[in-house]
């Protein structure tokens, strides 16, 4: 079986295995052992199967496409140099970025339009499969320990019933794994998706899984509200995404990434990538014909059909359609903003920590929220310079805001949540400044260390039964494994390492981002703020991560009640920590021989993005330096040193404040009270949105409802009332005039009868008189009138 046929099969099975688990647990969950204990095994088995299949797929991939030694390895400056030379002539041979695509089945087909479920598999897909299934496996194992409370009846201390006391409910262990399986299925669906429509489908599905998981403790109002908030805010992003989809679909008639094969009697059609970056133009980005025609509809209408094709170039050069492409890119990015919790839609992610900690680790740090980044990476060929700049700035703003909030957060999971937001901002920024590989590299490494951090925090919460860091402290003694692995995570996230020698995974990915940001800033001095943001973000990251670690594990216990009950977590929870810690260390390494994530990613690099890009019309001329250039000495060294310096500074400051307590945090907070309050209030985004969107929306809703009742119904009722009044008038006319006339006639007849009755005297003699008089009168009348003789 060749790779093209093998990979969809393997990955497809890997994708569907969690679905099978979901269905099984849905129907048989409560019957799986006591309290559904075995549901964990079913789900874990499924995800392990996925992992194994993904690994097989990875093996098949690597067998067919071995990672080349001399690519732009992150640490290999010389190799990058030598490679840079031949780039001018070498237009990246097709083999360089292999992708397999195809459709499994069609949802809708009408004419040339087709919506289908299909696959698009390249190195990135395979990598993401491995990463997602691996982390998911770890978290499944972890969760089977963490969620053991749900195996028996639970008393939820956070829910206060109206009658006093706390909620007592049966556990729902299977339901957790059911949702987790569905989530894995959906997430893998996004990864394998062969077209944007399928992405959108699974996009929504992960959203609803997230809703289920955040709202797992749905008895808590905060949890269900957070779940709703997450979904609705995501829908705001999807609103933009839909617009992007419409812009693409309306103009191009396809949402497939790659060219589609001729199936079902349908002809082969170019996909989005080759439409936007046609091979004929050296894979340079340009506005596709469809969009040009769409934008030039007025012109097209005036042009004879035969001449349209010839004029497209003219219209393109006039800039027609580029706005459409911009809208498409920004629209799709809006979806990513929602899903990846970027500014301005990041408000849902901290609240999403209402879910169980394994969920936070898997869904809200490592995978689902990374889906936005993944999609930007996947969709990268279609993004124009302007869109990339938007992405970069959104990322920068996000990373700064989130990091500042994380500085003052005291809930251990919220710190990590804001850290996640911030790191996602990093990735977005990296992608936005042209660092395709850097951004996705960071996505992978971040997935490892962030899930590790979350699991560690879960371990801590599990031990302390509180999220509040102010009640912790000194836990390193009772929880050495947790403390150690968490330290590894913290070091990884701040990008610790020995400059130019070796480092944790974060060291490599963050370095790459800094380097690219620096290169971009140098190429576009107007946007050098981006590099400042990255560097400052690195400092802040280091500070708040070590603030967290010091507050939690170092020093003396602040709350003895908490400290006394603290204990190391069971092995089933610690084992995943260790595994993830190892990966958090080594994930960034490039083995001798070139095998490593960066080079693997390079295989998936979209054609045409390696050379860098210039262009842009909305925000001025932009220059995106080729990513491999950032590995050149000048940039690289500066970036690495900056990263090291900022991280070190951050750690040092944290140590001064929280470990050595030379600087009192309280004093600092007092000095910068307005700033502190502002940050502790999380920049008041929730309040702002509530006032800006929720309140007006409800007001409009009430207005609409009120219009129905107060205006439309009143008009209708008024009409009905008018009709009734008219009917009343009519009835009055009937009664008084018509009936009156009738009655008057009747009365007249009656009265006449009464009067004539008097003639009916009953006196025979009078009757005789009447007869005679009548006869005489008749004769007289007849003779008068007819003037004839009476007889004859």
């Amino acid at each position: 079986m060749d790779t093209a046929a093998q990979l969809p099969l393997l990955l497809g099975l890997a994708w569907l295995a969690p679905l099978a688990s979901f269905v099984a647990i849905l129907f048989f969950g409560p019957r799986m052992g006591p309290h559904g204990r075995n549901a964990a095994w079913v789900a874990t088995a499924a995800i392990v199967a996925s992992l194994v299949l993904s690994l097989f797929a990875a093996g098949a991939w690597l067998g067919a496409h071995p990672v080349q030694v001399s690519h732009h390895g992150s640490g290999d400056v010389a190799a990058a140099d030598t490679h840079a030379g031949d780039h001018a002539v070498d237009h990246h041979p097709v083999a360089d970025s292999v992708a397999y695509s195809g459709d499994w089945y069609t949802l809708y087909r009408g004419g040339a339009l087709r919506l289908s479920i299909g696959w698009y598999i390249d190195a990135l897909t395979v990598l993401m499969f491995v990463v997602v299934t691996f982390i998911a496996t770890c978290i499944h194992v972890y969760a089977s320990g963490y969620m053991h409370d749900e195996l028996h009846d639970v008393t939820d201390h956070e829910v206060h019933l109206s009658g006093g006391g706390h909620l007592h409910r049966p556990g729902r262990f299977p339901r957790f794994f059911q949702a987790l399986s569905l989530f894995c299925f959906s997430m893998l669906g996004i990864v394998i998706a062969g077209n944007l429509a399928m992405v959108f489908i699974f996009w929504e599905l992960v959203g609803i899984c997230s809703w289920f998981l955040i709202g797992f403790y749905y008895e808590r109002k905060s949890a269900s509200t957070a779940a709703n908030k997450a979904f609705i805010v995501n829908r705001v992003g999807d609103f933009g995404m839909l617009i992007g989809l419409m812009a693409l679909w309306g103009a191009l008639g396809t949402l497939h990434f790659a060219d589609s094969q001729a199936i079902d009697g349908d002809v082969a059609r170019p996909g989005l990538f080759s439409l936007v970056r046609p091979a004929a133009g050296g894979h340079a980005i340009r506005v596709p014909d469809g969009m040009v025609k769409f934008a030039a509809a007025a012109e097209v209408a005036k042009t004879p059909p035969a001449e349209v094709a010839g004029k497209i170039e003219d219209w393109r050069s006039m800039g027609l359609g580029r706005w459409l492409l911009l809208i498409a890119g920004v629209g799709i990015f809006c979806g990513c903003v929602g899903k990846s919790a970027q500014f301005p839609l990041f408000v849902w992610l901290p609240d999403a920590m209402e879910g169980p900690t394994p969920v936070s680790a898997l869904v809200h740090s490592a995978t689902m929220v990374a889906a936005g980044v993944y999609l930007v990476g996947r969709f990268y060929p279609v993004l124009t310079p302007d869109v990339l700049l938007v992405i970069a700035y959104v990322g920068a703003i996000t990373l700064f805001i989130a990091a500042t909030i994380a500085l003052v957060a005291t809930d251990i999971k919220r710190v990590l949540a804001y850290s996640t937001v911030s790191q996602l901002g990093y990735m977005m920024l990296a992608l936005g400044v042209g660092g395709w590989a850097a951004g996705l590299f960071h996505l992978v490494t971040h997935a490892f260390f962030k899930s590790l951090l979350f699991l560690c925090s879960g371990s801590v919460i599990h031990a302390c039964h509180t999220n509040d860091m102010r009640k912790m402290g000194g836990l390193a003694r009772v929880m050495p494994w947790t403390a150690g692995t968490m330290l590894v995570g913290c070091l990884a996230i701040i990008g610790a390492g020995v400059p130019f020698v070796i480092g944790l995974s974060g060291y490599y990915s963050k370095d790459a981002i800094l380097a690219q940001a620096l290169a971009f800033s140098r190429a576009n001095p107007a946007h050098s703020i981006l590099f400042v943001a990255v560097a400052g973000g690195a400092f802040l990251t280091a500070f708040y991560m070590f603030r967290l670690w010091f507050m939690t594990f170092a020093g003396e216990p602040r709350d003895h009640h908490v400290a006394e009950h603290a204990h190391e977590s069971p092995a089933v929870m610690v084992a995943p920590l260790v595994v993830l810690a190892v990966l958090a260390v080594v994930a960034g390494w490039t083995l001798p021989g070139g095998f490593g994530l960066p080079n693997l990613l390079e295989q998936a690099r979209p054609v045409g993005t390696a050379e860098g890009m210039t262009g842009g019309f909305a925000f001025g001329e932009l220059v995106f330096p080729a990513e491999h250039l950032s590995h050149e000495g000048a940039v690289h060294v500066t970036a690495t040193l900056t990263a090291f310096a900022t991280a070190a500074a951050g750690v040092a400051l944290a140590a001064l404040m929280y470990l050595l307590r030379i600087i009192s945090p309280a004093v600092v907070a007092t000095i910068f009270k307005p700033a502190y309050t502002f940050l502790a209030g999380r920049w008041y985004f929730d309040e702002l949105y509530h006032a800006m969107f929720v309140v007006p929306a409800l007001a409009v809703a009430n207005l609409a409802s009120g219009t129905d009742r107060g205006v439309i119904d009143r008009i209708i009722d008024g009409l009905a009332w008018t009709a009734r009044q008219l009917a009343g008038v009519d009835a009055w006319i009937d009664r008084t005039l018509v009936d009156g006339l009738v009655n008057a006639t009747a009365a007249a007849t009656w009265n006449a009868g009464i009067e004539l009755k008097k003639l009916q005297t009953g006196h025979l003699r009078q009757y005789v008189m009447f007869i005679v008089v009548g006869t005489v009168a008749l004769f007289v009348l007849a003779s008068l009138l007819f003037r004839t003789s009476l007889a004859g």
Partner: protein, 229 residues
Amino acid sequence: MTGCVMLAAVNFHTMLFYLFAILACGFAIGVVLADNVVRMALYLVFSLGATAGLFFLAGAEFIGAMQLMIYVGGTLVLLVFGVMLTAQAPFVSIKTSTGDRVLAGVVAASLLALLLQAALSVDAWRRPGLGEVGPPAATPIGTALVGIRVDDPPGAPAAGVRSGYLLPFEIVSVHLLVVLVGAAYLARAKRRRTARAIEVAASVEPAAEPRLRSTGAGAASALAQGGVR
């Protein structure tokens, strides 16, 4: 001059006619003027008898005979019986008010004027006839009554299409029978109410009358309400 004319015109037939005419008219007026019912009956007999004479003069001997037999002989006997049966003192003569009489007189006068005018307005009617009395007409009448016409009916279209009076005759016969039966039924002796009983009934009756009236008024008001509804 006038007297001469009259005298010249007088012959036996004419004289008899005038005699009977005056008798008939006179006794008829007598019936009108008489107050006593017995006298009225007597005058009526005379009047009818005189009329029978007129019939004879007109050549309708059979009718005249019938007039005498049936009317004078039958009907009046009946009337006289009636007079006798009811001829208790208060009822023998019931006075009519003068006003009624005057009114009746005026009306009757106008009616008479009308009739006379009609009788005299046709020229042909004033032409005297042959003045001869033909053979008795009893035979043709008799045959006509059994369906055979031996005379020439006026305006008969052709010989052979002659219809008699068999059917009317039969109808009249049956009619008479029915009448007799009916008369017998009506006049049969029922529970005889005394004057006392009648007084009681009369005192009760007014009580019933208002009820009837009110029912009528009720119906009227119901009708009016129905109209309103």
